[in-house]
């Protein structure tokens, strides 16, 4: 597998796309069979999913709103993978970023007397900038411990980043049932509402969506034949060679995981200020884990994170639609798993059939 992984870099884009289309097609057929098995008409369900996802303003907005956190957690996991690191902790970093951002949002407090005035605009812009900075730092801080362990002690980041997720989740629960519990509307397990919001972009879609796209574009630029990306690739594939070449592997590993955590943290801030407007137990919604799927789908291209996040968003939105015809939410999870499996097989098949032909 490791050897083939190297070879995959030279597999043509077209081969991968074709193999994946076939895989996705097979998954859809399996899902249709499952829906038929539940006693529903797959044609009717398919039309419902397509028309309500792509045929309505609300459906299209939902896609953008789902894509936003997925782009950022996907980017976080993708960045770590470039150095051969598995950041399974995007979920926790997302929550840490959300918590730090909420702290800023809850302490600021919009002053209704200033509503609409330039002063109010200045103060809410300042809150947003501070919250975004804080969320980046908190996400980075949340990955600092696993990052240091991996960089200098050789502790597997897979386990440590994962475990930090649970600490983050219970920290959020402690905050929203304790010091930050909402006492105004009786919202369960939620902080008070944060009055400063990310400005609207189009309809219900907030500026978080273009910001996330911009972040991905910046990542793509950073990796375009840069020294940094080369060093990361070397650290990931052959640390010994990297060390011999004079690269400080530990520092690169540490900085990469910190950056990765920071990006996921910004995802948390955007979800709080754009979509949920409260710190809340269900905030992360599995975006950190789905980010792993997005990053795997994107392979080595940062720009491919965009279609990958879009595909995940379509699947998640299909899950919402399917629930209105009594297909359980967990069926979506099964569908996601099936898809990842099929795509992994497709990628391997594309690599295998090529090397087979070459030899």
């Amino acid at each position: 597998m490791r050897g083939e992984g190297r070879q995959m870099a030279v597999i043509s884009f077209r081969r991968i796309v074709i193999a994946r289309m076939i895989a996705i097609g097979i998954v859809f057929l399996l899902v249709a069979a499952g829906i038929y098995g539940l006693g529903l008409d797959p044609g009717m369900v398919g039309r419902l999913v397509v028309t309500s996802t792509f045929g309505t303003r609300f459906g299209l907005e939902n896609l953008a709103l789902y894509m936003t956190p997925l782009l950022l957690t996907g980017a976080a996991v993708w960045l770590a993978l470039r150095a051969g690191l598995w950041n399974i902790g995007a979920e926790g970093q997302f929550l840490a970023g959300a918590s730090a951002a909420a702290a800023i949002g809850l302490s600021g407090g919009a002053n209704p007397a200033l509503a609409g005035s330039p002063a109010a605009f200045m103060s809410s812009s300042l809150t947003l900038v501070l919250a975004m900075t804080a969320s980046f730092l908190a996400g980075a801080l949340w990955s600092a411990l696993p990052a240091a362990g991996r960089a200098w002690l050789g502790v597997s980041e897979i386990i440590t980043t994962l475990l930090m997720n649970f600490i983050a989740l219970y920290m959020v629960y402690a905050l929203v049932t304790g010091p930050w519990a909402d006492k105004v509307t009786g919202a369960q397990m939620s902080s008070a509402r944060i009055e400063v919001v990310l400005p609207a972009f189009a309809g219900a879609v907030h500026c978080g969506w273009p910001i996330a796209l911009l972040a991905v574009a910046m990542l793509a630029l950073l990796f375009r034949r840069s020294r940094f990306s080369y060093c990361l690739a070397l650290c990931g594939s052959n640390p010994e060679a990297a060390r011999y070449a004079g690269i400080d592997v530990g520092r690169h590993v540490f900085v990469t995981l910190l950056l990765s955590g920071g990006i996921a943290g910004i995802g948390g801030m955007i979800e709080v200020f754009g979509t949920v407007h409260r710190l809340q137990g269900g905030l992360a919604n599995g975006y950190g884990y789905l980010g792993i799927v997005v990053a795997l789908l994107a392979r080595k291209s940062a720009l491919a994170l965009v279609p990958a996040a879009l595909l995940m968003a379509i699947i998640l939105n299909a899950g919402i639609v399917l629930q209105t015809v009594q297909v359980s939410a967990s069926a979506v999870l099964a569908m996601t798993g099936l898809l990842v499996f099929a795509i992994a097989v497709a990628d391997d098949y594309a690599a295998w059939s090529r090397s087979g032909r070459a030899s």
């Binding site: 609300f58 109010a120 397990m189 919402i320």
Partner: protein
């Protein structure tokens, strides 16, 4: 923009505001599509089942209307997406059978021509209203029987979360009990769930071990009723008639019936006369005590039912002085708590412990 939204929000938060003036046109029966969002599965044996029964009643009354539902809607941004999906599928009316706070009010703002109703909600806007049953009167009536049946005067209460609804239920039970036994106490154990038979049974057993011989609570399942049956103590339940799970222990239940309210809501929507409001369903209008258990002595049932009749006639038992658990008078002598006050109850009355 944020300041204005905040001010608008603040004016929506408080219940009991006047009805909205916004009109929605008439609809033919076959045009109406209603989306229901449930907090648990429709066969949960309790809360959601009662709502589902009312939906089936609606279909019997109005055979041409269409309804959609989603079960186990999480309390997260996914709830927002489900409400938005109902709008995308063309629902003119969306009913959340539990509190979804901002997750529903945000969508109501985005879809001004769709009607939103929230059970246990708190906000009223042009197209968003709420409804809730005044279960505290039924709990008070059951509390009277509890004090008569309990020998120790120690009542146990299996609670979910310490929300105002749960506080109102526990407080009302003890106030009822204290009206006949002033030294009665009520100890609550919150189990952080509405449906967790295992935890409810454990909490029930722990309450019995600590000397309680009457269990009340606010659960969707009969978990602690089974324990009461095994241990030979009394139990009062919620949502449905659960006597089959503990026929000897069963005292009564706070039974719910949403059918009349849903029928009225649909009638008004079809006629174009629906207006957003916050609506309390009174005792006898969707909430009541259940038929008394087989082993409840007739004298006890009669005494409790006399009070029930007085409540039906307009009397309120929630009249001061009422002290909180620290002994401070919170409702002054002669002052009566309104349903809106009770709906926002955030303290426990003297004699109640374990909730705040």
């Amino acid at each position: 923009m944020t300041g204005a939204a905040g001010a608008a929000l603040a004016s929506l938060v408080f219940p009991g505001t006047a009805r909205s003036a916004k009109h929605f046109g008439t609809l033919a029966e076959s045009e109406l599509l209603i989306g229901f969002a449930h907090t648990s599965p429709v066969n949960d044996g309790g809360w959601t089942q009662k709502h589902d029964e009312a939906i089936r009643h609606l279909h019997a009354l109005y055979p041409a209307i269409r309804t959609l539902y989603v079960e186990s809607v999480p309390y997260s941004a996914d709830a927002t997406r489900i409400f938005r999906q109902f709008v995308a599928e063309g629902a003119q009316m969306i009913i959340a059978t539990s509190n979804y706070g901002d997750f529903i009010s945000d969508v109501a703002e985005q879809a001004p021509d769709t009607i939103f109703l929230e059970c246990d909600g708190h906000r009223v806007s042009d197209n968003l209203g709420w409804y809730y049953m005044t279960h505290w009167y039924a709990s008070y009536v059951i509390g009277i029987a509890a004090a008569r049946l309990s020998r120790s005067g120690r009542l146990g209460y299996v609670a979910s979360f310490p929300t105002p609804s749960v506080l109102a239920s526990a407080n009302a039970t003890l106030l009822g009990a204290r009206s006949v036994n002033p030294s009665a106490t009520l100890r609550a154990i919150p189990i952080n769930s509405w449906f967790d038979p295992q935890a409810a049974a454990s909490a029930g057993a722990a309450l019995i071990d600590s000397g309680c011989d009457f269990l009340a609570g606010i659960m969707d399942d009969p978990g602690y009723l089974r324990v009461a049956q095994q241990r030979g103590v009394w139990a009062a339940m919620w949502n449905t008639d659960m006597r089959q799970f503990g026929p000897d222990a069963y005292v009564s239940s706070v039974v719910l019936d949403f059918a009349p309210f849903y029928a009225q809501t649909v009638r008004r929507r079809l006629a174009g006369s629906w207006r957003a409001e916050g609506r309390f369903l009174k005792l006898g209008e969707g909430v009541d005590r259940d038929r008394w258990g087989a082993r409840v002595p007739p004298a006890v049932a009669r005494e409790a039912d006399d009070v029930r009749r007085r409540i039906l006639a307009g009397w309120s038992p929630f009249t001061g002085p009422i002290r909180d658990s620290r002994g401070i008078v919170r409702v002054a002598e002669g002052h009566t708590m309104s349903d809106a006050d009770i709906y926002a109850w955030d303290w426990q009355v003297q004699g109640v412990s374990g909730l705040v």
